[in-house]
Each structure stands twice: as structure tokens, then as C-alpha cells.
Amino acid sequence: MDALMLTIIATSIPLLLAATGELITEKSGVLNLGVEGMMLSGAVGALGAVLWLGNPYFGIIAGGLCGVLMASIFSIFTINFMTNQVATGLGLTIFATGLTGLAGAPLVGKTVPSLPKIEIFLLSDIPFVGEILFKQDFIAYLSVAIIIFITYFLKYSKSGIVLRAVGDDHQSAHSVGYPVKKIRWYATCFGGMCAGIGGAYIPLVLTPHWSEGMTAGRGWIALALVVFASWIPWRIIVGALIFGGITIAQLVGQARGWPIPSQILSMMPYLATIVALTMISGRISKSNSVVPASLGKPFFDTQ
């Protein structure tokens, strides 16, 4: 039972991180559909760094940096050149798929050491709970810290309120004197960093070697999670665990030889995403103002 719970948590962490980052990006009014691409580049960056430097912690840093780099490319085009965000995000994923394929080619067949577990003194001795919550790796703790931080940030900090204002009405925010473009740059890069670290988690913990397109749609599921969570941070945890659970359930099903074809079982996470989106979209009406009002709209500053 412990082991099962641990794998579910491990599976949900890349989703959790990527979705949290995207939530901040979207709160600032930027829709970055390149999450899948940023995760892929984080994965390949982490693998490269660990193989080169030997220490898995460098993988986290490299993954984050690669994500930021991808997010910067996205920002230059969408924020500065005011390109269509949907198309640019798609472009980013396509670009990153190609780039990581090329950069990852020399890494094929090499394995990296896994990220060590950190036991938290005393707490890890609590039966069951301690095993699951306090014997995790660094990224797992980090992702919880990020969730707590952004919950506080969005609700109580002045910068968080400015961020939301920029995402809800960029013209007004601009008239009051806030640097809309700069804030969106920061928010997008934060999203890139989270997606990059989320991507790094895949080779560092889940499967310790490179394969082309190894994120397998997790970036897209993360995008769906943001909608599912109705842009409320803590709900991402719930959503990510549900998706982690579904992914593990189908793997368990395949291992135990359930009388359902493995391909049909493998469809579960994707079908569940559609079902989840359908259920939640009925409830998100436009009056309900959970969707950042300027989401996806380019900002043109009149000077």
C-alpha cells in the first residue's frame, strides 16, 4: 500500500509542478501551450547535466534553466512581438520536440543515478504517513513548497495582486503604471522553470534514461489540470494525484493481467482528462470570473 501510494505521488509530481507554473503564467494573462516542450527540454537538460557533472542535483538546476530558456523564447515572440499565443505555444512544443530529439541523440542508452530520498528527522518515523510524506526527494518537497508559496503569493502579497490585475485587465493595469510586459515575462519564465523541473523529474526519478518524446503528453495534461483546478493552486494537488492514480491504476491493471487490452487501459489518463475538462467546463461560466479575463490576448502598449 505504501509502495503504491509512493508511486502515485511520484507520477503526479511532474504534473503538479508543470501545472502550478502554468497557473502563474495564465494568471498573468499569458496562455503558454508549450508546456510539453518545456518539460521535454527540462528532461533532456537534466539528463545531460547529470551525465556531465555526475550529481543529480545539478539536473534540477539544469532542468529549470532549460525550461526558463524555452519560456524566454516564447516570451520574446508573444509578449514583445505580440504573436498569437496559441500558435506560438504549439510552435514551442514542436520546436522543443525537434531540439530535444537532436540534443538527446547522444544520450540514448545511458542511465543516470536517481535523485536521493531525504528523510526528515523524526517525522519520517511516523508509521505510514512518515513513509509517504517525509521520505521524499528534494523535488517533491520543493513542489509542495511552491504550491504553498504561490497560494500565499496570489492571495496576500501585493505583487500577487498586481499579477492578477495584469491578467484580468492589462489595459487598466498599464494605465495605473504597472509594467505589463515585464510582469508577463517573469510569470512566463516562472512557468517555464516549474515545467522544466517537472520535466527533469521524469528522468531523475521515474525512468532514468532518455527516449524521444518521453513526457508522453504530460505537458498537455498539466494544461488541462489548470482548467480542472479552476486556477486555484491547492486544487492542482488533488487533480495531479487523481491523474497519478489513474496512470498507476492502468499500469497495475496491465501487470495483473486484467482482461482489458493494455492499449485500452493506456487510454485512461487521456480519456480521464477529457471527462474532467467536460465536467469542470460546465461549471466555469464566464460570469464566474475564475478565468483570467485577458488570458491569451496580446497586449499592445500605446506609446
Binding site: G98, L102, S281
Partner: protein
Amino acid sequence: MITFTPRDKVSKNWTIIAPILSIFLTIFFGLLIFTFLGYNPLETLYQVFLSPFSRIDRISDIFVKACPLVIVGTGLMLCFRANVWNIGAEGQFIMGTLLAGSFALLFPSVETKFFIFIMIVIGFIGGALWAFIPAILKTKLNVNEILVSLMLVYVAMLFIDFIVRGPLRDPMSFGFPLSKPYPDGAIINKIPFPGIGYLGQLHYGILLILLLIPISWLFVNKTLSGFKINVLGSAPKAAKFAGFKQNTITITVLLLSGGLAGVAGVIEVSANIGQLQPEVSFGYGFTAIIVAFLGRLNPIGILFAGIIIATVKLGADNAQMSMGIPKVVTGLFEGILLFFLLTGETLQKYKIKWSKVT
């Protein structure tokens, strides 16, 4: 600092210059990345962009490769014009192929001269049905069509894998996940040229393009429906005031694009593969997104864009064989190209001014 000022009207010059400039910038930056990663840029340049023109049969293969891209791209053009983001053409391609292929394998005795045409119609229906899911969810429940159509790509890939490994596997395939070969009527033949024989893989399916491009041009430029699609995409409020039925348009463009993706699948498989296998598409549905944009959402542009992208795809195949570069690198060029093309769109509408930071 760069500042933008709106132009009075869309710049005609930029409309033409932007795609050409984008292609050159893409080659430049693409090769820069290759050099940075330790590949020989000149050899890459030759393999990816020039080697497909090195022999006459290779040139005709460009058209073969462009065929599905142009068909899918034309469908996506309708969606993107209406601001409907169908990015699941890959899945619609697969489902169209699968439905038509299953028909061919299960009812081979229906053998008539028109068998392939029946398959094309079934392929259209299969692709359209798959696109109907995001269409109905979008219009009835306001579910994001981007995510739904994309998730359905993964579902379609797994589904065809299940079908060819399970129900439709050829018992004589020695354990390979392959269906039986298609009956003769389901095969699209190569075009024989008197005195030369066959030119590469050039097949009769190409002729569909000659039909599709003028029809789609007339549709988007000369019909009321085409006009409505444009208005909905460029001025949704105007469309609302004019009383256009937004939902009907959304469903129509999704069904048409899904259907065309299915047709592309039928032609591709009937002409080049001749049976069902787990992988039938090789990313045509995703690449067609780039083709639609490179062609500036315009049928004639898409024809040229399809040819250009097909060249790069074939070039990447050659580069894989001769230089060991993974095939997915085409994505690298496609992504950069899309970035520059979109920037070009901004430059059509705005003038750039360089000014000192104040």
C-alpha cells in the same frame, strides 16, 4: 527599444516578404543550432534542404510527401480562419484511415471500380466523427477544443495499435502487428509515364490536390459560408451582431477539417502502405499545422507550403541515413519557421520603430 505603431492598413509588401524572409531566417538559426550541437552545418544544409532535389524520382517523392500535408493543411486552414484550434488532425487522420481500412479488409468482395472512392468517403466520415467529439463538447459545454482534440490523438494512436495487434491482425503476419494486405481495389496505383516508367512513388492520389485547391479557394473566397468563417475568426463580435450562428460554423469547420484529415489518411495508406499498421501517420497531422500557417491560411499558399515542408521532411530522412541525425529534427525547423511567420503577421499590422531607451 523597439516600439510598434499600428499601420493604417495591412502592408501588402510584408504579406509576401514575411514568408520568404522567415524561411531564410529559419535556415540560418536552424543551422546555428546544429553547429552549436556539433554537427557540420554545410552538410546539414545540403542533406536537409538540397538533397531532395538531387534526382528526378526524389523530386516526385516531394509531391507524394506533400499530398497528405496539403490535404490536412487545407482542412486546418478552415478551422484556423474561424479561430477554432483543431490540433488533433493527427488523430482524425488515424481514425479515418482505420475506418476506411477496416471496411476494405472486412468487405473485400464489394470490389467495384469505385471501391477506392467509397473508402475515401468512409475515411472522411471517420475523421469527421473523431473531430465531432471536440466540436460537440466545445459548442454544447464550452470545453476547450485544443486539449480535447489533442488528447484524442493519443487515444487514436492507442486504438489503431489495439486493432492491428488484435481484431484485424493478419494470422499470416508471423507475429508482426500488421493487417492483411488491402484488396486490389483499395490500392491507389502509381502513375506510369510513357517511356520513363514510374517516377518515384508518384501516384494517382496526387490528382485530388488538383481538385481540392481550386474548390477550397472558391469556398473561402467566393461563398457566403467562407465569408462567415473569416468574419467569425477576425471579428467575432461583428459575426455575432450579423447573426451568424457561431456554433454551426465551429462544428462545420471541425467536421470538414477532420474529414479531410481522414481522406488524407486513406490516400496515404492506400498509395504507399497497402495495409494497416500501428503507425500510419508519421506526424502529418501536426506538421500540417505548420503548413497551414506557412501557407498564410490560403489554399494556394498551402500548396507551396506543403511542398516546402515535404522537402524538409524528406531531407531529414536523408540526413538520418547519412548523418545519423534523428528524424524529429524537422520539428526544430518547423518550430522556428512558425515563430518567424507569426512575427511576420505582427509586422503586417504594425510598423517597427527603433528608439533610444528613455
